[in-house]
């Protein structure tokens, strides 16, 4: 009799986006193993199948729980229940076949089939079957291992070790495989194989070199700054708070890099040959450390220290300049230092440092890879599997994490089941009014604060310049930066957003608006007012002034943060405990703190042109900030109850670091270099029309003095000055982008087609399994005594 098994399929279009197949390169190795191991196991299950049938048909008739008609009844139930019923009442034979299917034995896991078969056998088979099947199992595991060993033999030693490390076997198995694979090789030392003497030296050198490289890398990674404090923090607070401290460490590394480059190429050469010292300002008071004027303004810290000279150790034979009169004449037959032009060094150091930072930011892993994350919508399964943070070890934090997950899941389920509640019209209108009011309040406060900063700066400029009111402007800016986010938090609390992630995004956006507007006003003050008419304000050296202002801003920001951390969070906790009598500590506001870090970094990047040692100040500030924030978090805060999508947030923060912060600073610096006239009396670019001009002059000097570098100046003329070349390069990049986007589209289409193909194969599988089950039941009904 023909069973018309009507398996209704749930035709679900998959909602999530698919990565392009190029992204699965590491997985291709596994896939090859899947295919290979599937091929190797395919020989065995057929014999297993037939034996099972004959073996089990007689012995396990009593275990047959289902009659044929009962099976037909299941089709009317819904898919989920039917699936579960089917699985529970499948016979031992079917289960055995299923557990040896290639999809269940995928990958080099000689262990899973063993456990799978053991556990599938346990509830239903007798001892007769288990002993009957132990032999084929052992033969199969060694067959897979033999496959692995032969694969490893075909590779080079280092490749094989890397592959072996990445296979999911236990350590004992791996050691056995390694011994089998390299049986021909003397295990004690791979180098003492029978290689001829003349090659031994080369092998030894390459081995020592790779050893050194490995040591350097391991030193760099074990130089993991702040490893144990971060472990304590992640154990207690989870990945969210940890991401703030990781971001802080990344910024520290950026600043270290900037400081090293500036120090090597700019500060050190000039410090070794200092300019003539101005005698009347060398009494040093402590306040100058805060304001940056006086003694510090003459130091290597600021722009004014640098001269427009060229450092040489000898002078040319025909020059009669007075400043090089005491140097010996250059002897062409003896090595002498290439003339080191400070203005050119200044320009090119800053430019190259910015360029390298741009490349690092764009190529950073969290930036590139997670643009896909930003695109994908709700990914429930992925969330469930990845949601548990294994680093959390403290008992209360684990419980808190479970609560967080439970809340999140319940919210998600209620969202799915009920959909949008039919709110009444008045309620919706009310909520809309509240939102509009909150937004208007925030925007008005931002505009007011920007105007306040603007008027204050104008007042400072028009009044007696720059002596008495130095610290007022930075203090006002820092106070605004501190207080207004509190107002924004209040607004979001009043608005009571439904989804916590929307809440976080809204508060980030408002904070960002505030900081962008304030920095914009300040940039206008520096570049639009001070730089343009320096003489009117009585300034000899406007770059020094701008550098000092940035220095003061940075320090004031730090001072206010210290005050807020110690007083604010501490007092808040006391207030909660004593007045409100609740044991609830405040939550560490990750978004706000990260934006503060980004703000500080923007100031550093803006200021590096005017104060080359500003990254050093930022390094010290970040160091102190780490320890302060760590102790504050551990003492005063508790873990947040809201879930924090760590990777999405890290993407967002790196994006914010790049887009408004770095690009804004880069645009300001380029604008300054390109268009603004440097001051005539100080700095390396005095008496030039623009700072960029010095680059051109240097190139001309190179042409005239050293014909060997002629090609460099020719390349410069050809590349930078020629618009056709830039046009061609842009066109080329646009074509590359277009081709890549077409390839991605094509791959997406292939992925969706393969998806449908897999679904069809799944339908085939279900069809075969139910038919197999039906056949078995029918044959056991027909022949009960065999």
């Amino acid at each position: 009799m023909a069973y018309s098994v009507n398996i209704s399929q749930t035709d679900s279009d998959s909602e999530s986006d698919f990565e392009d197949m190029g992204g699965s390169k590491p997985g291709q190795g596994t896939f090859r193993f899947i295919r290979e191991s599937a091929a190797s196991t395919q020989r065995c299950p057929e014999s297993l199948q037939m034996d099972d049938f004959r073996g089990c048909t007689g012995a396990n008739r009593e275990d047959l729980p289902f009659t044929a008609s009962g099976h037909m009844r299941d089709e009317t139930l819904d898919t989920g229940q039917r699936k579960s019923l089917q699985r529970h009442h499948w016979s031992a034979a079917t289960l055995k076949v299923l557990s040896s299917m290639p999809s269940r034995t995928a990958g080099i896991n000689a262990v899973i089939p063993k456990y799978a078969r053991d556990s599938s056998q346990q509830p239903q088979t007798s001892s007769h079957d288990s002993s009957h099947h132990s032999k084929p199992i052992q033969e199969e595991t060694s067959a897979e291992e033999k496959q692995l060993v032969s694969n490893l033999r075909g590779l080079s030693v280092s490749e094989a070790m890397r592959k072996l490390r990445a296979t999911p076997l236990s350590l004992a198995d791996k050691m056995r495989v390694r011994r089998l694979a390299f049986r021909d090789v003397d295990e004690s030392s791979f180098i003492s194989r029978n290689i001829p003497c003349y090659r031994r030296l080369g092998v030894y050198i390459s081995r020592t070199w790779s050893h050194c490289l490995f040591i350097c890398l391991s030193v760099l990674t074990s130089l993991q700054l702040w490893h144990s404090p971060m472990k304590i923090l992640s154990g207690r607070f989870g990945t969210g708070v940890l991401s703030y401290f990781l971001f802080l460490r990344t910024l520290l590394l950026f600043n270290l890099f900037l400081f090293t480059i500036n120090g090597l190429f700019l500060v050190f050469p000039q410090a070794v040959n200092p300019p003539p010292h101005d005698p009347h300002s060398n009494n040093f008071t402590g306040l100058e450390l805060l304001t940056g004027t006086g003694y510090l303004s003459q130091s290597v810290m600021f722009y004014g220290f640098y001269t427009n000279t060229t450092l040489t150790t000898c002078r040319a034979a025909n020059s009669n300049a007075t400043n090089t009169a005491d140097l010996p004449i250059c002897d062409p037959h003896q090595p002498h230092m290439v003339p080191y032009s400070i203005p050119a060094a200044y320009l090119f150091t800053i430019a190259i440092a910015f360029f390298i930072i741009c490349i690092i930011l764009v190529m950073s892993k969290s930036f590139g890879r997670s643009f896909q994350v930003l695109k994908s919508n709700r990914d429930l399964a992925g969330n469930i599997f990845c949601i548990w943070d294994f680093k959390v070890s403290k008992n209360t934090s684990v419980r808190l994490q479970s609560e967080k997950i439970s809340t999140q899941l319940k919210e998600l389920m209620s969202e799915l089941t009920s959909g949008e509640d039919a709110k009444s019209y008045t309620l919706r209108l009310c909520r809309l009014m509240v939102h509009v009011l909150a937004w208007v309040t925030c925007l008005i406060s931002i505009v007011l604060s920007a105007m306040a900063v603007h008027y204050l700066s104008e007042a400072c400029i028009t009044q007696s310049p720059f002596k008495d009111t130095e610290l007022v402007l930075p203090a006002v800016v820092s106070a605004i930066n501190l207080l207004l986010p509190g107002l924004f938090n209040l607004c979001t609390w009043v608005e009571n957003y439904d989804s916590p992630s929307v809440c976080v995004y809204v508060s980030i956006f408002r904070n960002l608006m505030l900081k962008v507007s304030i920095i914009g006003v300040l940039c206008f003050r520096w570049l639009g007012r001070i730089a343009v008419e320096p003489v009117n304000h009585g300034l000899q050296c406007w770059e020094n002034c701008v550098g000092q202002e940035l220095y003061r801003l940075l320090l004031m920001d730090f001072v206010f943060t210290v005050l807020y951390t110690f007083l604010g969070e501490f007092l808040w906790r006391l207030f909660f405990k004593q007045v409100l009598k609740r044991n609830r500590k405040p939550v560490f506001d990750i978004a706000r703190n990260v934006l503060e870090l980004i703000y500080g970094q923007t100031l550093t990047w803006l200021g590096v042109l005017f104060a080359p040692l500003l990254p050093a100040v930022q390094i010290l500030k970040l160091f102190a900030l780490f320890y302060m924030k760590k102790s504050s978090v551990l003492l005063n805060c508790q873990a947040s109850r809201q879930p924090w999508r760590a990777s999405q947030m890290t993407t967002l923060f790196v994006f914010l670091l790049f887009f408004p912060s770095y690009l804004g600073a880069a645009v300001s610096v380029i604008y300054t270099i390109w268009t603004i006239k440097p001051s005539t009396e100080c700095g390396p670019f005095r008496n030039l029309t623009t700072m960029f001009h010095s680059g051109k002059l240097w190139v001309q000097q190179l042409e005239s003095s050293n014909t060997l570098l002629f090609w460099l100046s020719k390349a410069y003329d050809f590349l930078v000055e020629n618009p056709l070349f830039l046009f061609l390069v842009n066109g080329f990049f646009l074509i590359v982008i277009y081709v890549h986007s077409q390839v991605v589209d094509g791959q997406r289409r292939i992925v969706s087609q393969l998806q449908k193909q897999i679904e069809n194969e799944g339908k085939d599988k279900k069809f075969l399994i139910t038919n197999l089950q039906a056949l078995y039941e029918r044959s056991s009904l027909v022949s009960p005594n065999r």
């Binding site: 899947i34 072996l164 350590l171 469930i384 990845c386 294994f390 959390v392 319940k410």
Partner: protein
């Protein structure tokens, strides 16, 4: 200083370094923490196996809801009691280390979540997984309807061949789409 069994030989150390994702310092630290779990007379025995209860006294594993599954997955004992030798312990740390590849992590995560060890994640496994995630108190657990709907949604998203279970390839496919996994599947001593 201790007997020879409680110190690692140099070639064993380099072999472990080659076959796992751990650095030398991590292996030595693991050895130190492991020998702290042994009693005085056990320290002389080679290749001894520490019972699961003692392993679970480690602070990194003590409160983890998956601790028993982790011990069972990495244990190579014939009695399936979850006891770990030092090499099993290194396997554990290697899979949870910083430099382990995504495939290794997803492979072991799959085995940890496969509560009944049958090679796939079916509804029972997913239900136990969600219960482990949401904790043990009654007010954090999901109601049966919520659980059923959640499992249906998970299967809808991840079961590509629609057989009602999530096998290893489907699991790895789902994992590869979320970048949170590598950073959350980490245990550091």
């Amino acid at each position: 200083m201790g007997t020879t069994a409680s110190q690692l030989g140099k070639d064993m150390l380099s072999e472990y370094q080659e076959l796992t994702f751990l650095t030398k310092q991590e292996i030595l630290l693991a050895h130190k923490r492991f020998t702290e779990l042994l009693t005085k007379d056990e320290k002389d025995l080679p290749n001894n196996r520490v019972s699961m209860e003692r392993i679970l006294t480690l602070p990194e594993l003590k409160s983890n809801p998956f601790r028993k599954r982790i011990c069972n997955v990495f244990s190579t004992s014939e009695y399936k009691d979850g006891g770990l030798t030092f090499e099993d312990f290194l396997d554990l740390l290697s899979a949870f280390s910083d430099s382990a590849t995504l495939e290794i992590k997803s492979h072991y995560a799959f085995r940890i979540f496969d509560f009944d060890d049958d090679g796939t994640l079916d509804c029972g496994d997913l239900e136990k997984l969600v219960n482990c995630l949401t904790g043990e108190t009654d007010d954090t657990r999901l109601t049966p309807e919520e659980m059923r709907q959640l499992i249906n949604n998970i299967l809808e998203e991840s079961d590509i061949d629609k057989d009602g279970t999530v096998n290893l390839s489907e699991f790895q496919h789902v994992i590869s789409r979320s970048p949170d996994f590598v950073s959350s599947f980490k245990i550091v001593l």
